[in-house]
């Protein structure tokens, strides 16, 4: 009996070793350990043994069963590993083949610039005000201290629809409308939008372009507030190292009026082609709201004051991205627009 058991064990271990696949190994397991296998049979036949031999033989069968099971498990792990390796081999791909392009579009560069500006001022507590592109002469000019016959109207050649209606030449009428609607309340707004001027389209002129203006009105708004706000803006848009300088200028709706330059982001102020060797780049116009503008909108200039500023996203985009011709923004060439995909954050 003992000899028989030993042979059985040897045979089983031999067959486990020979099993080359998971399937073969399973067959060996069923053959020896299954319900109809020899080990089960042996255990079943234990009752026929003399009582004093039963414990010894029982222990022996169990040992054999455990040994076989153990070796089988080991073999199983090995074969499974082998099977996975084979699968991996088969599934290996050329990782240098091109990927499947994820289809996406992106913002037009002007929208990109506008939203960047909007988001900065929103973080400063501004709201975004919008208004009509076809405007009354009153809001476009008169309410902004540009009465009929004012020489400064020459600065902006306009597309008129009728004597009193025109395509807005700037987004300032939105400021005038907002002031009128707010009825004396404080204001902090940004006004982005399309504007139109009688210009022949060329590399630096476009009969339609974009503007974004801002207006702050309240008690004790000072020119230093204008400077501080715009300095933060310049740093946000063009980098932390940017410095600003204000130069006196003239706009009918502000007094004093300034133009703001930023230190050149290309050369840092040493002078290069971007800044035309001056170290400075003109970026926007601004000023303290003219008392006539406040008065016309129902604000008392002895009580409140304000500042306003305005800039052209096209110009900013041209500077920021090195675009040399404003017409690129309006041809909608996919090869152009698609370049403004990546984030700059």
């Amino acid at each position: 009996m003992e000899q028989q058991l030993k042979e059985l064990k040897e045979r089983a271990l031999e067959q486990i070793k020979e099993a080359g696949t998971l399937k073969e190994l399973n067959e060996v397991r069923v053959a020896y350990l299954g319900k109809k296998g020899p080990i089960t049979d042996l255990l079943k036949g234990m009752g026929k043994l003399p009582a004093d031999e039963r414990p010894k033989m029982g222990a022996l069968v169990n040992v054999i069963r455990e040994t076989v099971t153990e070796v089988l498990e080991e073999r199983l792990v090995k074969l499974e590993e082998q099977a996975i390796n084979e699968q991996l081999e088969k599934e290996t791909i050329d990782v240098t083949l091109p990927g499947r392009p994820a289809r996406t579009g992106n913002h037009h560069p002007i929208t990109r610039v506008v939203e960047e500006i909007e988001d900065f001022f929103i973080s400063m507590g501004f709201e975004i005000a919008e208004g009509p592109e076809v405007e009354k002469d009153y809001y476009n000019f008169e309410a902004l201290n540009l009465p009929k016959g004012h020489p400064a109207r020459d600065m902006q050649d306009s597309f008129y629809i009728s004597e009193d209606i025109l395509l807005r030449t700037h987004t300032s009428p939105v400021q005038a409308r907002t002031m009128e609607a707010k009825g004396g309340e404080p204001i902090k707004i940004i006004c982005p939008g399309k504007v139109y001027r009688r210009d022949n389209d060329d590399a630096t002129h476009s009969h339609q372009f974009t503007q974004i203006e801002g207006l702050v009105i309240g008690e004790d708004i000072r020119m230093s507030d204008l400077k501080g706000t715009l300095s933060l803006f310049a740093k946000k848009m063009f980098g932390d190292e940017r410095e600003i300088r204000l130069r006196p200028s003239f706009f009918p709706f502000t007094e004093p009026s300034v133009e703001m330059d930023i230190s050149c982001f290309n050369c840092g102020g040493d002078g290069c082609n971007v800044c035309k060797k001056t170290g400075w780049i003109e970026i926007l116009g601004a000023g303290m709201v003219h008392p006539n503008v406040l008065k016309m909108a129902g604000y008392d200039p002895t009580v409140v004051s304000g500042f306003a500023f305005g800039m052209g996203p096209e110009r900013i985009a041209m500077l920021k991205y090195g675009v040399e011709d404003i017409r690129h923004f309006y041809t909608n060439d996919v090869r152009f627009v698609s370049q403004f995909h990546r984030t700059e954050a």
């Binding site: 913002h107 037009h108 929208t111 020489p151 404080p186 400077k227 200028s249 909608n332 060439d333 627009v337």
Partner: protein
Amino acid sequence: MLVSTKWLNEYVNIEGIKPEDLAEQITRSGIEVDSIIDRSQGITNVVVGYVKECVKHPEADKLNICQVDVGEETTQIICGAANIAAGQKVVVARPGAVLPGGMKIKKAKLRGEESNGMICSLQELAVEGKLVAKKYAEGIYVLPETAVPGEDALALLGLDDIVLEFDLTPNRSDALSMLGVAYEVGAILSQGVKLPEISYPESTEKAEDMLKLRIDAKEDNPMYVAKVVKNVKVGESPLWLQNRLMAAGVRPHNNVVDITNYVLMEYGQPLHAFDLDRIGTGQITVRLAEEGEQLTTLDNVERTLHPHQLVITNDKESIALAGVMGGLNTEVHEGTTTVVIESAYFAPASVRRTSRELGLRSDASTRFEKGVDPNRVAAAAERAAQLMSEIAGGEVLAGSVTVDELDKTPKRILLSPDTINNHLGMKISLEEMLSILDRLQIKTEAVNGKLVIDAPTRRQDLNIEEDIIEEIARMHGYDTIPMTLPVTESTPGGLTPYQAKRRTVRAFLEGAGLYQALTYSLTSKEQAQAYALETAPVTELLMPMSEDRSVLRQSLLPHLLEAATYNVARRTDSVALYETGSVFLGKGEDDLPKEVEHVAAVITGKWVDHAWQAEKKAVDFFVLKGIVEGMMNSLGLLKGLTFEKADVKGMHPGRTATIRHNGENIGLIGQVHPSEQKKRDLKNTFVMEMNLEKVLSIETEQLVYVPVPRFPSSSRDIALVVSSETSAGALENVIRNAGGKLLKDIKLFDLYEGDNVEDGKKSVAFSLTYTDSERTLTDEEVVKAHENVLNALTTEAGALLRG
């Protein structure tokens, strides 16, 4: 405004200041210096030559052989100019000379004759042709007889000069004169201004004995000063005067005209010179023109005048367009002996209107329309009289003929130093303020802590407190203003719901693969209403620049299709663009059009193009429809969204739909009509346009979570044969209505027409999902619901169930 630094130095001492530094200081304190022009242009070695002899070149008709005394020697120079002659003093570029553009002069042989240099025209010395006196415009320049051979010609011609080009803002018309510039520069440099000293011998005869004056339109012409100068000898102006005019960008004519122009540039006061004999009547009457009155102006154009235009007349007919241009009939000419100098104040609005209406702008009109200094009107006339006496040999008659009702008192402005500092956010002391105003020569007194300011009349731009604040700030330096942030009630800031949802729409469309386009609002009349969702009267420009951009669009699609064509023509075959922008629905001439924001998209070419995995798919209706559905889903508006076959002009009649939400028309989608595609050089192109304002104004329910189903769902597939005419949408409606509340999802998963299906029929298959969120459905419940669906399909849709 062109400012000669040589000339400016007459009034303020700027010697030793580098032009770049001066320009920077001027720019920083208020007037932008656009460019710094070195008139010498690198020219060297040009001298005065005396043409002793001039004979024709034996071998060349057009060339002359000249013997020229250039000071140290007499040398031979060949000259091709037609106006060269013996006895002239000329400008000679010596061998070794450098001319503008780096051209070097060398000894040469011309047709066998030696030439040791070049006799120059002014153009060859980089003077613009339009500034060269007509006499010398076509040939060499002839210097006055007083020029000394060998003398440096560059200095003689005043070309050793730096000119600053000002880009003046409309408010700073005071700087349209050399004196005005001198006051500005004087303030910057803390210097006074040296004004010209005016004195000349007066005749015993009185001006008023020779000329009578009457003003019939005093509102438009409150002041008129006429001086009379007799025995004038009209001729060439002295070189210094011509040089200054050319430096200022004015072409010299003759001494009388040049003097008026010189004083215009010096004082900023436009003058006009009449020939008294040509006036004929001894009378000047200023009045408004008569309707249809004719006047030929100095530029030889006959102009028809309107009754509100101001004219100078001889009491019979007009002789000048006041403040704009003189008349040809009284022009000073070579034979003129008696000159009337006119110096007047013409109302800005009047001159501006006339100049606009006639499309005629002049150095005079640009100054009058901004308002000249009332206190310089008489002074300028005196200055001109002095120069006529000194330069043109004239005899100035005593006194002036004057009408003067012009207010010349300076404007008084009161403000407190605190106001200034509060406005600027600064702390400038009273002393400093007074010092700045003093440098600007703005008369100021401090009375009881307030500044009492009399703004000089030369500064027409100083009217209110803020104007003075600006003067102080700019002279103090904008760099000195501190940086602070507004102290206001803190407001949250942010986007309106509309603006936020518009960003969602853009983000979705871009995520779906569309690039954002930006097209023009102006379009042609033909395109204005094409594809419009809603039409209204078109809004037309009064004076369009071109037919293509003459009216405002009522649809975004025409320009988007143009953009598609533009890309396809540049070999970008696959195009996917969208735009958000306004369309303009006219409401009649007196009202603003209604502006409605739309969103539109165009796709053409391939939608999927992944060649090596053999995945290529052309765009089709359903690609775009999927995008519209996705966009609406991102807004929570998928429920209620339907598409209804539609017929739209310019669109494929079998592939176009109206987009509706809860029955309301919100847009269109479909394929562009094949013949339209062909016209635009496009292959199959699909477009959509929706009324974005309508879409974004649809109210949506608040987003509330629906529990994820805890109980298994049960699905059943149906295969049907129906008439080809029956739409999938109609079948879905039948299924949805019959399925009851247990039916959660319907998916169309197969569609087939062709072999094995009867003609006029199609085979459609749906997969239906039944669920109850509260419990597991029993088989009976599902069977019952499904049978309802099957029955409904058979009876309501005439469907034949298969398999």
